[in-house]
């Protein structure tokens, strides 16, 4: 029997040969192994999420879940505890605190709260944290006023660094603090404090300090007396005055101004009658006849 059909050609056709070579190409294999699944998955996901309704649903579901977790009792803050603050400061803090309790700790922006509390004039430093059990603890260290700063229209309490702490109704409210005055007086509160410390021997005679020209201090005493201090070495100059006062009882005399601005030439301005008297005495001492 002869075979009716032609025996099939063992050789691969040109296209099957090329296809096999293509499948053996490393880059193409990589493309098939990685690229096709990636594109397929990407396409599926894109098609699924292309629908607006589905997107909305998913966003809602996620938001809902998030809300559920956030409002769990473990994450709720119910109390604001303030430590280390005086009553007025505490009131201020409670007033500016932007959240209503109870609220979730996810919603509270602690950095923002910290910034706000630190921004209060009476607060030097604040420490804000949420303690276990739903308590928000604010530890505050207040500014301590060291002086009363009198300006044209108001009285202000300033601390050692010159920050104004609070306003004052009347000077008598804080009679224990010294007064400083003048424009720019708050810029050199430490210097003022040093001068006032040095002026302690004068006791109650010191009324306060006046900042002159935003660069130097005048020490104002009662009986309209002033000690003009230099810009540099004010304490030293004051000490010199005090020594003079001790030895010669200078300030008890009838003078208005002790000018220490030039260290080499301390000057004293006397009152009018005293000056008259002084001239007369000198004339009599030199023997000039009174006319």
């Amino acid at each position: 029997m002869q075979q009716v059909t032609k025996p099939c050609d063992p050789a691969p056709s040109r296209w099957s040969y090329r296809f096999q070579r293509l499948m053996l190409t490393p880059f193409f294999r990589l493309l098939l192994r990685v690229g096709v699944p990636f594109c397929f998955a990407f396409g599926m996901v894109t098609a699924y999420f292309g629908n607006e309704e589905r997107q909305e649903k998913i966003v809602l579901a996620v938001a809902d879940m998030r809300h559920q977790i956030e409002t769990r009792p473990e994450f709720m803050v119910e109390l604001l505890a303030i430590e280390g603050a005086s009553e007025s400061v505490e009131e201020d803090i409670r007033e500016i605190f932007p959240f209503d309790f109870p609220t979730s700790s996810f919603d509270i922006d602690i950095a923002h709260v910290h910034e706000m509390i630190s921004g209060l004039p009476a607060v030097r430093a604040a420490d804000v944290r949420i303690r276990k059990g739903g308590t928000m603890v604010v530890t505050v260290s207040e500014r301590v006023p060291v002086a009363v700063w009198r300006t044209w229209d108001e009285l202000t309490l300033v601390d050692a660094e010159g920050f104004s702490v609070a306003e004052l109704e009347a000077r008598a409210d804080r009679a224990d603090l010294p007064v400083i005055a003048g424009e720019g007086a708050d810029a050199d509160v430490p210097g003022a404090m040093a001068i006032l410390e040095a002026a302690a021997p004068l006791g109650a005679r010191v009324l306060g300090l006046v900042r002159m020209g935003e660069r130097r201090w005048d020490l104002v005493l009662d009986k309209d007396q002033r000690i003009l201090l230099p810009e540099e070495g004010a304490v030293r100059a004051l000490e010199r005055v005090l020594v003079l006062n001790q030895t010669q009882d200078m300030l008890a005399r009838d003078l208005t101004v002790v000018d220490m601005r030039l260290a080499g030439r301390p000057t004293v301005r006397m009152n009018e009658p005293a000056a008259q008297t002084w001239w007369r005495v000198r004339q009599s001492m030199t023997g000039i006849k009174q006319e």
Binding site: P10, P12, Q20
Partner: protein
């Protein structure tokens, strides 16, 4: 002369690139089978820059990762006669080899046995410009070889397949392997050149191109089977390798590790088969089967009693039930084998093989598996005859270790350790095109 080698140079560059990439295919286009091996170079061994044979006979650098054989189609006498058919056969072999290797091959080195190879011995001589032999001097002496008119330059002409310098001589000191750096005045060289029919080369190149591959090298099958079948001392002392193929029988003579002569006899195993087919009135396939199972060249008394059923499909009972004795088959085969061997003998005599110090003859190729061939060959060719099998290379499947794969295995060695050919040397300066930088440098050197 130089322009002729541009394609060879291009192929050599392509081979370098392929080896750099690590994968190259070896294709043996034979008359009866097409074998394809896929080699992977792991780069463990540098491919040049050393003399002699490297570790593991120079095979440490590569491994066979794919091997396939298919029945050849459209090839006669080792030349492509039907391109479409051959292209399909090459495709079959390559596909199977690529599948086994699991890698895509882009470069292929091919060999073929036919196309009337012709050997030429060339000699050249130059005076050295400087006392020391430089690379340029070597190039110059190679260019100075007087090339015979081998029929190049026209369509259907011939093309140079191999051009290997086999010997350098410097002032009566001959036998130098590498003259560079030596002191002398006159440099002479002997070169062995093999030319083949250009048409056959073009056909093969076209077939390979049709398979989407780049041809990265060409070799003569007689040469590469000599590389794989001859052992080192045979190559050194002088030996002839006779590659009994299907359609043609290649002869190559080696001496001092260089091929010094090659030729082919346009007869082979297929002619034996067709003799049987004609003598017994059977189809080619049956004749081939009878040849491989019962063939031989020396008949004994036992063979008279061994009856072979021929079989047939004509429907004629008498015709389909014929028996022949094995002695008859041998009687048909022997004259043809003798004829082939006589032709080989003529070729060897013409080449002056009997002047060589050692006259070892190695039979290899598929048809060398005929039982008793070595005995017959030693009666015709000379006493020192042995059957050769190709070297073992890494990863070669057991099925591809037989003598019929001598040229395929030889191609592997050829790919891994190519011999220096003419086109591997520098182009001599005076052959450079005008306006070349190198030429300008030479002018400065000469004038200052």
């Amino acid at each position: 002369m130089i322009e002729l080698y541009d394609s060879q140079r291009a192929m050599r560059n392509m081979r370098k690139a392929a080896i750099q990439r690590g994968v190259v295919a070896v294709l043996d286009v034979g008359t009866s089978k097409i074998a394809c091996l896929v080699l992977r170079f792991d780069g463990t061994e540098r491919l040049s820059d050393y003399d002699g044979v490297g570790a593991l006979a120079g095979q440490a650098g590569f491994r066979v990762i794919g091997a396939a054989t298919t029945r050849s189609r459209g090839v006669r006498f080792g030349e492509i006669s039907a391109m479409q058919e051959t292209e399909r056969a090459i495709r079959t072999a390559l596909k199977a080899a690529q599948k086994m290797a699991q890698i895509r091959v882009d470069h292929v080195i091919a060999c073929f046995s036919g196309a009337l190879p012709r050997s030429y011995g060339l000699a050249g001589q130059v005076e050295l410009e400087s006392p020391m032999v430089t690379e340029q001097d070597v190039s110059r002496v190679l260019s100075a070889c007087d090339v015979p008119d081998y029929g190049a330059g026209f369509d259907g002409g011939r093309e140079v397949l191999h051009a290997q310098p086999v010997n350098f001589a410097l002032d009566h000191r001959s036998g130098l392997g590498d003259p560079r750096g030596q002191i002398g005045q006159t440099l002479a060289t002997d070169m062995h050149m093999v030319t083949v029919d250009a048409v056959a080369v073009q056909n093969l190149a076209h077939c390979v191109k049709r398979c989407d591959l780049e041809l990265a090298g060409l070799a003569s099958s007689a040469y590469v089977s000599g590389i794989s079948a001859l052992v080192e001392d045979e190559q050194e002392l002088g030996a002839a390798c006779i590659d009994f193929g299907g359609g043609s029988t290649g002869v190559s003579i080696f001496m001092k590790k260089h091929m010094i002569y090659t030729d082919s006899v346009r007869m082979g195993g297929d002619h034996v088969t067709s003799d049987i087919s004609m003598g017994l009135q059977v189809p080619k396939s049956v004749a081939e089967r009878i040849k491989t199972f019962y063939g031989g060249v020396v008949a004994t008394g036992m063979d008279d009693r061994e009856m072979i059923e021929i079989g047939g499909e004509t429907g004629d009972w008498e015709h389909d039930r014929r028996n022949v004795s094995r002695a008859e088959v041998i009687g048909i085969m022997r004259p043809r084998v003798e004829e082939i061997l006589e032709e080989v003998k003529t070729t060897l005599d013409g080449a002056g093989f009997n002047c060589l110090p050692s006259q070892q003859i190695v039979l290899t190729g598929g048809a060398s598996q005929i039982p008793g061939l070595d005995g017959l060959a030693s009666r015709i060719l000379g006493q020192q005859v042995r059957l050769g099998r190709p070297l073992r290379v890494h990863g070669l499947p057991q099925a591809a270790t037989g003598p019929s794969f001598a040229s395929a295995v030889g191609m592997c060695l050829f790919a891994a350790n190519p011999q220096d050919e003419w086109w591997d040397f520098e182009i001599p300066t005076d052959r450079y095109p005008a306006r070349s930088l190198r030429r300008a440098v030479k002018w400065f050197k000469d004038n200052w």
